[in-house]
């Protein structure tokens, strides 16, 4: 069975190579190879994941892997090309392959009019290969290889419409900010090598207890640094909103469901490392929950539909890191899975909306689309309800587990902020729904004639994604803390949980846990109702109907206390400006100073030596006059010198 593992990787890689080499000749059919490769990979991946989750042989409870060949056979250092699957990998495999496949199918319709779509599918396949390599790798160096590759694919895909300057700039920004985090990860790998002498992950986890505590903290911090870059946490969060310049399927796949989860996966996979350094876990939780509230606050005022979803992604990723930081490992993976599905659904839905209104992304020019694009509307509503955490959809279970874990493990401040963010999430999601689908139509009249539902290749994936968004929580997360997912992932995290000394308290529906769940649901309900009052709602099935009140919104945002919050939020809390001032302006000045130093002093010295030599040579050359009498004078002078010198010396 482990022989199937390389197949999961080879299929998308082969798809990339074939589409890249041949696809430009057949632009209309370029997608066929790519989609078939990804569907086949999904089949194999699902089989492998099922076997791993059911603990069937040869995986067992601890997972198994195969080593394909020795990648770097150097003396004193070696790294293998090896793949490893355990229940954690299986969960990620399910998410990556399923959403990847659905995004590929969706892209057939979305990119139907784009002449460069052979490139698009090639890049998408390369991305699938890279992400699967990252997930399946068994040693840190291979993870790093996959890490960098997904960064590269993100660059290629964000800047897919490269003639557009904003897209190219956004792609560059994403890559550079990612690089900052990647440096931390590279340093972590080097530290692991010097301390432990091996890069194989299972071997490292087994021996990690023997490392001095300062090194444990350092390694854990550096690994988290890499995760911060890839998963866009504060302060490296600035690239994700700009990454929305790419096509919507890219946003759905990379920036919602897969690549940004790589950081969460890495931290979860390295749970023994983090378990040995509880100080770093506090840092993780702090940064995670801070990002959550920061992003949620910015999402309040954004007018681009994809930006709202991008900030929402940042916020939910913050939740996941907060969950990892407080020690609720399984809850984080649960949220990762459910978030992957409903955020993917939301992004694809937004793509469908954008497609319908003729590539317009500003929500202020939408409105009243409920009747015109019904399937999109229905699925998007399901997604919005799921992310808001309304029971019994998936988001409720996963978010609740996170908040419950935070509360019970003693991180009350994390619980408090997370509680607040749950309400904020519900508010801005229903603001989005109100501005897009309900209320009067602000659509440009010329575009209004052309509004049509998307083709079946696009709505099919939407419906297919809506199902797990609705049901996943019930399927694998219920009953809470004893459901299927906990059973599957228990062997992965049990050592770390046991080592942290925390006793797993049983879920008490009529005790603490129940109270927390009811409190969260109440806050969410209040937030939704407020959003309805301000932005309108039209759900005839439930008898809900209200008109949006833009004047009231404007009055609220102009209020003295709130107006500063409004301005800060719509300026993204000036982080981009700070970065620009620090790195672009001052960095530019530093670079100019270094250039001056290099040109004037360094080059001047080197050139100066050359010039001095040449000039000296030119001057000394004049001694060679070619005239014997001059040479004879030299002889006479030398003779005099020697004679006088001899006489002086003899006189002493």
């Amino acid at each position: 069975m482990t022989a199937l593992l390389p197949l999961i990787l080879l299929l998308p890689l082969g798809g990339f190579v074939l589409t890249g080499l041949v696809g430009w000749r057949y632009p209309d059919d370029a997608h066929r190879i790519a989609v078939c490769a990804v569907v086949a990979s999904w089949v194999v991946g699902s089989i492998v994941a099922a076997l791993a989750l059911l603990n069937a042989s040869p995986f067992g409870t601890q997972g198994a892997g195969i080593t394909l060949w020795t990648w770097i056979p150097a003396t004193g250092f070696s790294a293998d090309m090896g793949l490893f699957v355990d229940p954690l990998t299986a969960c990620l495999l399910i998410v990556v392959t399923t959403i990847g496949m659905l995004v590929h199918v969706y892209s057939i319709g979305y990119m139907a009019h784009d002449p460069g779509r052979w490139r698009f599918f090639a890049y998408l396949n390369l991305f699938m290969f890279s992400m699967l390599l990252l997930v399946l790798a068994d040693n840190f160096l291979l993870v790093f290889a996959g890490w960098e590759l997904v960064g590269l694919c993100s660059y290629l895909l964000i800047g897919f419409w490269y003639p557009r300057r904003l897209a190219a700039v956004a792609a560059k920004k994403a890559f550079l900010v990612n690089r900052v985090g990647d440096m931390g990860f590279a340093l972590a790998i080097m530290a692991i090598w010097t301390q432990l002498g091996t890069l194989n992950m299972q071997a490292v986890f087994a021996k990690f207890g023997g490392v001095p505590h300062e090194w444990q903290i350092a390694i854990a911090l550096l690994i988290f640094c890499g995760a911060v870059g890839k998963s866009a946490q504060f302060p490296l969060h600035v690239w994700l909103p700009d990454a929305m310049e790419g096509p919507t399927p890219v946003s759905a796949l990379i920036h919602a469901a897969t690549m940004v989860n790589a950081g969460v996966y890495l931290v979860a996979r390295c749970n023994p490392i983090f378990g040995a350094a509880p100080e770093v876990m506090v840092v993780v939780a702090a940064i995670g929950i801070f990002t959550a509230i920061l992003a949620a606050s910015i999402a309040f005022t954004q007018t681009d539909i994809k930006r709202v979803l991008a900030y929402s992604t940042l916020s939910q990723l913050g939740y996941m890191f907060a969950s990892l930081g407080v020690g609720a490992w399984t809850a984080a993976i649960f949220h990762l899975m459910s978030h992957g599905f409903f955020k993917g659904l939301l992004f694809l839905d937004s793509g469908s909306v954008i497609h319908a209104v003729g590539d317009e992304q500003d929500m202020r020019k939408m409105g009243g689309l409920r009747r015109k694009i019904p399937i999109t509307y229905a699925t998007m509503l399901v997604g919005a309800v799921a992310i808001s955490g309304v029971p019994p959809l998936a988001g409720f279970f996963s978010k609740d587990e996170i908040l419950g874990g935070a509360f019970k493990n003693g991180f009350l401040w994390v619980w408090a902020i997370g509680f607040l963010v749950a309400g904020m999430t519900a508010f801005y999601m229903f603001r989005l729904m109100g501005m897009t689908f309900w209320g009067p139509s602000h659509v440009d009249p010329e575009v209004e004639h052309h509004i049509h539902e998307s083709p079946r290749s696009m709505t099919g994936p939407l419906i297919l994604l809506a199902i797990p968004s609705a049901l996943l929580g019930l399927a694998i997360g219920f009953p809470p803390e004893t459901g299927l997912l906990h059973q599957w992932l228990a062997p992965v995290f049990e050592h770390t949980i046991a080592a942290s000394g925390r006793v797993e308290q049983a879920y008490t529906f009529f005790g603490v846990d129940g109270a927390l769940a009811i409190a969260t649901t109440a806050l969410v309900a209040v937030a939704i109702v407020v959003a309805w009052r301000l932005f309108g709602v039209e759900i005839p099935a439930l008898g809900l109907r209200a008109q949006p009140q833009p004047d009231r919104v404007r009055a609220l945002s102009a209020r003295p206390g709130l107006s500063f919050l409004y301005k800060g939020s719509s300026n993204k809390w000036w982080f981009d400006d700070i970065n620009h001032k620090l790195f672009v302006d001052w960095g530019g000045k530093l670079a100019a100073a270094a250039l001056w130093f290099d040109r004037t002093i360094v080059d001047g010295t080197v050139n100066g030596i050359g010039t001095v030599t040449t000039d000296a040579g030119l001057r000394i050359r004049r001694i060679q006059t070619g005239r014997v009498q001059n040479y004879a004078l030299g002889i006479a002078l030398g003779l005099i010198l020697m004679a006088v010198g001899y006489l002086v010396l003899a006189a002493r």
Binding site: R621, R622, Q624, T625, G626, R627, V628, Q629, A636
Partner: protein, 103 residues
């Protein structure tokens, strides 16, 4: 004064100095050769003077001086022949115009 070796040696030293100056400072090649002859004569004078004042050496000194005169003659012959050959080529007897070895 004529009985002391010093005066003859001083005389020959001064004659040598004059010859050196002429060799280093004149432009005409033949002037240089004449200066060389002066220097050779100074050396000859030294040898003869030593021979006159040191009885054991006087015969040898004379012989050596005769040989020196012979060699000086040979050298003058060849030197002047060279100067004439160069003159035929360069049309000038001035040595500072023979600078083909100039860098």
């Amino acid at each position: 004064m004529s009985n002391s070796l010093d005066s003859y040696l001083i005389l020959s030293g001064l004659l040598f100095a004059v010859g050196t100056f002429g060799f280093l400072a004149r432009r005409n090649a033949i002037s240089m050769l004449m200066s060389i002859e002066l220097m050779l004569n100074a050396v000859n004078l030294t040898i003869i003077a030593f021979g006159a004042f040191e009885p054991a050496l006087h015969t040898q000194a004379s012989v050596i001086a005769l040989l020196v005169i012979a060699v000086a003659a040979a050298e003058a012959t060849v030197g002047l022949a060279i100067v004439m050959a160069i003159y035929r080529n360069r049309k000038t007897p001035l040595v500072d115009e023979y600078d083909a070895m100039k860098e």
